[in-house]
């Protein structure tokens, strides 16, 4: 059986963040969003989005209270497409140092750290980092401006497919992720003298520090690519 063109995407509602812009972006690009905090809905969906704005510790406590930590980890290990956005990306990591030390979902090994006085020339930049900024393929996947000859494109088969290197996306954050293994980093961005991981991909798990649903037509392209990835995976499983 081939899956219908509009996959069901569970948007995890744990009381934080703008779920509605995420849901609208899914709907605008042909997915069927379901805002939910139910384990059954997450299990029955074709993909999961973990959104979020706010404090890491509160978010983990809320996920624990809703008994969603197990289901989210299971979704990731089962190969179901999972996309974390902003705080949702940070929650995927092992631990965060936001107001103390908090355990994360540990789906991706690594830490969440705060910008330490990012500087541009002699000027200290403001934190949070708010606004539009470029996303670039990580240094290992680049050779000057282009791709290393013979390598497959780091953005192929990810939600970043169809995005130009250096495209501007919308960021709002004070913390960023530092994955233990460099090869999961799918894009980097610069804030002053800090180069940080702005998105990552490991197996079926993707996370972005920026908000594609608030990044105009280019951000919507990522939701469309995410939908295509979901369908591709379903079709592979059915063969």
């Amino acid at each position: 059986m081939r899956i219908e063109a509009s996959p069901r995407v569970a948007i995890v509602d744990y009381g934080l963040g703008n779920l509605f812009s995420v849901a609208h972006a899914c709907a605008a690009t042909g997915s069927t969003p379901v805002i939910t905090s139910s384990e059954a809905e997450i299990l029955n969906s074709d993909a999961v989005i973990l959104p979020g704005v706010g404090a890491f510790g509160d978010a983990m406590q809320s996920l624990r209270g809703l008994d969603l930590i197990g289901p989210l980890r299971d979704a990731a290990t089962s190969g179901k497409p999972l996309m974390g956005i902003c705080l949702g990306l940070q929650l995927l990591m092992t631990e965060s140092f936001e107001f103390g030390n908090h355990r994360g979902l540990n789906i991706i090994e690594g830490q969440v750290v705060r910008f330490q006085d990012p500087q541009e020339g002699d000027k200290i930049l403001k934190v949070p980092h708010v606004g539009w900024n470029g996303i670039f393929r990580p240094p290992g996947a680049r050779d000057g401006g282009g791709l290393i000859a013979g390598e497959t494109d780091a953005w192929k088969n990810t939600p970043l497919e169809c995005i130009h290197d250096g495209e501007l996306m919308y960021f709002v954050h004070s913390f960023y992720v530092v994955p233990e293994r460099d090869h999961v980093i799918s894009s980097v961005s610069r804030y002053g003298d800090h180069e940080f991981c702005s998105s990552l991909m490991a197996e079926s798990v993707f996370g972005s520090q920026f908000h594609p649903e608030r990044s105009g037509p280019e951000g919507l392209k990522m939701y469309n690519s995410f939908r295509k990835l979901i369908i591709r995976r379903q079709n592979c499983m059915d063969m």
Binding site: S21, H24, L87
Partner: protein, 287 residues
């Protein structure tokens, strides 16, 4: 990278614009302007309910619900938000951030509670400032109608300490006049705060925006007249029915009465910023 944010002040179902927030003219439906600005490279949008504080409620929910389905840039909503519950309601309608002023002046703890509940980056403290005889600035509420006795700079610093993620500073003296932004006010607050500052009030030419960035050190500029008086020339007013609504003379004859304002498009404003060496987001294409 500086952000250029069209600011839509709304009364009932209409976008309005006045001078010093008085003598409001109807410019048309906000949905038209929101879409027009989104398609022309706006970095965010701000919606302010111009009469909410008078009636103590925000009536933008319907407009936000509709807009957030079609517009995929950050939306900030302000006007009449009194409590964590009010804020939750506009976020549920599709807003990404809220601007609070009156309620925060009355009870500063609201900033802390709201930033805990929704994250600092969701909370914008809006400060309306009027220059005092002594050369300082006093914070006002209700579109510059009510004095607070608070020094605008001290209040901005306190707001940041309480957890506001951004501060929007509006000069009531300059608002709607086209005389240029109050660079002294903006710079004093932008340099004192560790968080981003959105400058608002007074831009009348494209160069005013560049000056707010270069001299005023603003992290973002909110623009109304400068953009609206250009966009209104594209407004399909002959197909609209405003028979029951307010001061519509301006909309009937949109070519008159710009005063000191030389209206511009977002592209013109951004091209000028780049000429001045200020980084900003230029959209790849018109739409």
């Amino acid at each position: 990278m500086i952000r250029i944010i069209p600011r839509l002040d709304i009364k009932g179902p209409n976008l309005v614009k006045g001078i010093h927030f008085e003598g409001l003219r109807v410019l048309g439906k906000p949905e038209f302007y929101a879409k027009h600005y989104y398609e022309n490279g706006a970095d965010e949008l701000i919606f302010m309910d111009a009469v909410a504080s008078l009636y103590g409620r925000n009536s933008l929910l319907g407009i936000i619900e509709k807009t957030s389905r079609e517009i995929f840039i950050p939306l900030t909503v302000g006007g009449g938000l009194r409590s964590v519950g009010d804020i939750r309601e506009v976020l549920r309608a599709g807003a990404d951030k809220v601007a609070i002023n009156t309620a925060a002046v009355k009870r500063p703890e609201l900033i802390r509670e709201a930033s805990r509940a929704f994250g600092s980056s969701t909370i914008v403290l809006s400060i309306e400032a009027i220059k005092t005889a002594g050369g300082g600035y006093e914070a006002y509420t209700d579109y510059g109608r009510e004095g607070t006795g608070l020094d605008a700079l001290d209040w901005a610093i306190k707001g940041a300490e309480l957890g506001a993620g951004e501060i929007m500073v509006t000069s009531i003296d300059r608002e709607g006049t086209g005389k240029g932004l109050d660079l002294e006010l903006i710079r004093a607050i932008a340099e004192a705060l560790p968080i981003p500052v959105i400058a608002s009030g007074g831009a009348g030419r494209v160069n005013d925006v560049a000056e707010a960035a270069k001299v005023g050190k603003a992290d973002a500029v909110a623009l109304a007249s400068l953009l609206h008086y250009n966009a209104v020339t594209c407004y399909p007013y002959q197909h609209s029915d405003f028979s029951r609504e307010g001061n519509i003379e301006f909309l009937r004859q949109p070519q008159s009465g710009f005063g000191k304002i030389t209206a511009a498009t977002l592209q013109e404003i951004k091209a000028n910023l780049i000429d001045f060496g200020v980084a900003c987001r230029m959209s790849r294409r018109g739409a």
